[in-house]
């Protein structure tokens, strides 16, 4: 197989994911409504309770809704990653996973393509969310921030999507997926800097702040936050890329026919 053929395969998987997404209007609407609800209801209620002092990357004091916007962007990608993982489990149960896995491309490439397709969908969701939050709530970032955001979104999307892939390789049935919501999405989100800055966590509870500091989701949020303000957070970048590589390796392992889930469960 030549590099061009690899790209054709990738493109085919991205197009299919895009087509599926356009058929799932509810998924798109809920991906938009969820963060907007947080912005409108949660942030409005808490803006007077939770003052945010001047912290990097902000040059000045910011409104609470501006502070939580990067966290909500990461939340969109987190939900999208889990949604993709859910669709992998669904594909496996419905059989369409086999079509993908019998393609004559290496499995790591097929999984990476699937991942990238999910990220592309999440990037569209994020920009639509940013447009709507600007139009409805006047939340804006520096103009170039929207451009720097794009590569950051690809990296954070890859990390969160790989997390979903790993989960999908270990989840046996669709019904077990509800547990993922309780034991993955919520803990990741609430023990991160999505809703409160780290110093506030430290004031409230030092060990919670420690968890928050090592949570990869925190670093995804910070990479996005800094990118929106035209800055690069090197530490966050290193953690996001490192976590992605580890999770991707775990996902490839999980989908390896000789050791992974297909073999263990006698189910493909």
């Amino acid at each position: 197989m030549t590099p061009v053929q690899y790209l054709r395969c990738l493109l085919g998987i991205v197009v299919r994911e895009g087509l599926r997404f356009t058929h799932q209007r509810e998924r798109f609407i809920s991906s938009l409504v969820r963060p907007l609800l947080w912005l409108v209801i949660f942030a409005a209620g808490f803006r007077n309770v939770l003052g945010v002092s001047m912290i990097e990357p902000y040059d000045t004091y910011v409104l609470y809704e501006v502070f939580i916007t990067p966290g909500l962007i990461a939340m969109i990608q987190l939900f999208n990653g889990m949604q993709s993982s859910l669709s992998m489990v669904y594909d496996r149960e419905m059989g369409s996973m086999r079509t993908l896995l019998i393609s004559p491309f290496p499995r790591w490439w097929l999984l990476f393509s699937k991942l990238l397709a999910g990220v592309a969908v999440s990037v569209v969701q994020v920009y639509v969310f940013l447009i709507v939050s600007y139009l409805l709530l006047d939340i804006s970032m520096p103009p170039m921030g929207y451009v720097y955001l794009l590569p950051a979104l690809f990296l954070t999307g890859l990390m969160l999507g790989a997390m979903g892939l790993v989960l999908s390789s270990f989840i046996k049935q669709l019904e077990n997926f509800a547990g993922v919501m309780n034991f993955v999405i919520f803990p990741l989100f609430f023990t991160s800097t999505a809703l409160y800055p780290l110093w506030r966590m430290k004031d409230a509870n030092p060990w919670l702040a420690d968890i928050c500091a090592v949570n990869p989701f925190t670093h995804a949020v910070e990479l996005i936050r800094f990118a929106l303000y035209e800055r690069l957070n090197v530490e966050a970048l290193a953690v996001v890329v490192g976590t992605f590589l580890v999770l991707m390796a775990a996902a490839v392992w999980g989908y390896d026919p000789s050791i992974g889930f297909l073999q263990r469960k006698g189910d493909a």
């Binding site: 197989m1 030549t2 061009v4 053929q5 690899y6 054709r8 395969c9 493109l11 085919g12 998987i13 197009v15 299919r16 087509l19 599926r20 058929h23 419905m94 059989g95 369409s96 086999r98 079509t99 993908l100 896995l101 019998i102 393609s103 004559p104 491309f105 290496p106 390896d256 026919p257 000789s258 297909l262 073999q263 006698g266 493909a268």
Partner: protein
């Protein structure tokens, strides 16, 4: 033998944990031959297909497709085969055309080639007029025909079909079987057709009887009947699988 046969399996064993599902399986499908893998439900047919297509990895035995060792060159081997799984694998919300384009992309095919091959495949399975139809709106028989067409887009040399007529009415079953036999005859494609239905076997087929993970008999239909010491295929099958 491994160099010339469409499929050559020898000494293949496989277990899910401690439960053995295939025991020392050996079989051959000649190039351009139509072979029927006949066995009751639970005989190990689907597991065998999963091993040939590398969805599962095996540690004991060997599988060659047109001389290509599946365990050493899995991707090259996958490029040679077309597969129709027992379980439907089409994306129901996409059109026939979109489903087929996805398959072409999964084989790295350029757009123009994919377009021509899809047109050919649809013509072959007589679904050209429905190409823009969403799969959900098609009948069970039509969906199966799409899957057969799809399996042929990348010009495989060997076609695997795992109980492709399950759940179809008699007319659709007959039409699909006739179609695949014609393909085999006209294009020289090797075919392995797995089924538990005796009436899908014809006199000049190469027959392999699989039961409880073991090959009980293999050869021409007449050879299998003769070896079982019975008068017809029904009796031969009953005596071989002990039912």
């Amino acid at each position: 033998m491994t160099g010339t046969a469409a499929l050559a399996i020898s000494g293949l064993s496989y277990a899910y944990g401690t439960r053995t599902v295939l025991k020392d399986v050996g079989l051959t499908v000649p190039q351009g031959g139509f072979a029927v893998l006949l066995g009751p439900n639970g005989a190990g047919k689907t597991t065998l297909f999963s091993l040939i297509t590398q969805l599962f990895a095996f540690r004991k035995g060997s599988i060659f497709i047109h001389g290509v060792d599946v365990s050493k060159h899995p991707l090259a081997a996958l490029g040679l085969i077309g597969v129709v799984f027992q379980q439907p694998t089409l994306d129901l919300d996409l059109t026939i055309d979109q489903n087929l384009k996805y398959h072409a992309a999964l084989h790295g095919m350029p757009g123009k080639v994919a377009k021509d091959r899809i047109a050919q495949a649809l013509e072959r399975v007589d679904l050209t007029a429905e190409r823009a139809t969403v799969v959900r709106k098609l009948s069970g028989g039509q969906r199966r025909r799409v899957e057969i067409g799809r399996a042929l887009i990348h010009n495989p040399r060997f076609l695997l079909l795992d109980e492709p007529t399950v759940g179809l009415d008699i007319a659709s079953r007959k039409s699909i079987l006739t179609h695949v036999r014609a393909l085999c005859r006209d294009t020289g494609l090797g075919v392995l057709w797995a089924t538990h239905l005796l009436d899908e076997v014809e006199g000049d087929d190469h027959l392999i009887v699989l039961d409880k993970g073991e090959v009980k008999a293999a050869g021409s239909v007449d050879q299998v009947i003769l070896a079982s010491g019975t008068q017809n295929l029904g009796a031969a099958f009953s005596s071989l699988v002990g039912s």
